[in-house]
């Protein structure tokens, strides 16, 4: 029980395991420890939900919110086209 006691009251360790579990999986022993912690800790349960939400948001934000991102200006594009053209002609 000593390991369980150590994690049962340790939110730093529990949140670390939550992140590791999200991304790569954790050992069966760690799964058990985490479950034990979460059963008694509503704050870390909330952290877990919010962590998953943040992951979803990050994916969605970066893949679909194009209108919020800065755009390339035409001047830059025209210069770049000229540069490519001249590089091609040098060959």
């Amino acid at each position: 029980m000593s390991t369980l006691n150590a994690i049962a009251y340790n939110c730093r360790k529990a949140t670390f395991l939550i992140e590791k579990q999200n991304l790569s999986g954790i050992t069966i022993k760690q799964q058990y420890e985490l479950k034990f912690h979460l059963a008694g800790c509503s704050v870390c349960q909330l952290f877990q939900q919010q962590s998953l939400l943040i992951d979803k948001m990050v994916k969605k934000h970066f893949f679909t919110e194009e209108e919020d991102l800065p755009k390339l200006d035409n001047n830059f594009k025209q210069n770049l086209e000229k540069r490519i053209e001249s590089e091609l002609n040098q060959k």
Binding site: K60, L69, L80, R83
Partner: protein
């Protein structure tokens, strides 16, 4: 016309490279790819330009097995990793890791690992569905911008590029222990920032 210059025909009977149309067809896409990963407009522009120039030099090496866009994106991706790598080596790395220690103490009691009162997670209560909320996106982006560059790089490579952990460790020359420390603390930092600015 040299051998390398024969790019406008089909290579291996499969994919066509047409550099004269690169800017028109791919510049915006590549710029977006860069800007969300490095968050620096000038640097992103430079990278788009460097990608096209490297592409021109590598025309002969194009195997025709991937699409033109996939091929150009792969060139850009390695240029971005080079930047991450510079940021994750030397002084910058030491600074980021020691920053990490400070953050850990910020959120948890050092004696027992309990949440400190002022950082205890509270519900994000403002809107019903944050996935539909533009304001949430804006705040998320500003919170991402506050992360140390190395943390942001690790986070982006793992969550957006869905790179294998081993690849990230190798590319950024990080130890596995440091990788997980960074993943953990990036999330703590983002979550706290969202709670502070969005609640």
């Amino acid at each position: 016309m040299s051998a390398e210059y024969r790019f406008e025909g089909k290579i291996d009977g499969s994919v066509t490279l047409d550099p004269k149309k690169w800017v028109e067809v791919h510049a915006d896409y590549l710029f977006k790819y860069a800007i969300v990963r490095i968050n620096d407009q000038d640097l992103a522009k430079d990278l788009v330009q460097e990608t096209f120039l490297a592409g021109l030099k590598g025309l002969a090496g194009f195997s025709g097995k991937s699409s033109e866009r996939t091929w150009l994106t792969a060139i850009l991706k390695y240029k971005i990793i080079d930047i991450y790598r510079k940021e994750s080596s030397g002084l910058a790395n030491i600074k980021a890791i020691s920053n990490v220690e400070a953050i850990e103490d910020e959120y948890f009691e050092s004696a027992d690992g309990h949440w400190k009162n002022e950082y205890t997670p509270k519900p994000f209560g403002k809107v019903q569905d944050p996935l539909q909320d533009k304001e949430f996106n804006r705040v998320l982006q500003s919170c991402m911008n506050k992360l140390p560059a190395l943390w942001a790089s690790v986070f982006v490579m793992k969550h957006m590029d869905e790179e294998k952990t081993e690849v990230i460790l190798a590319e950024l020359r990080l130890s596995s222990a440091n990788f997980w420390v960074i993943i953990h603390r990036t999330k703590l930092s983002l979550r706290a920032c969202l709670q502070k600015n969005w609640l």
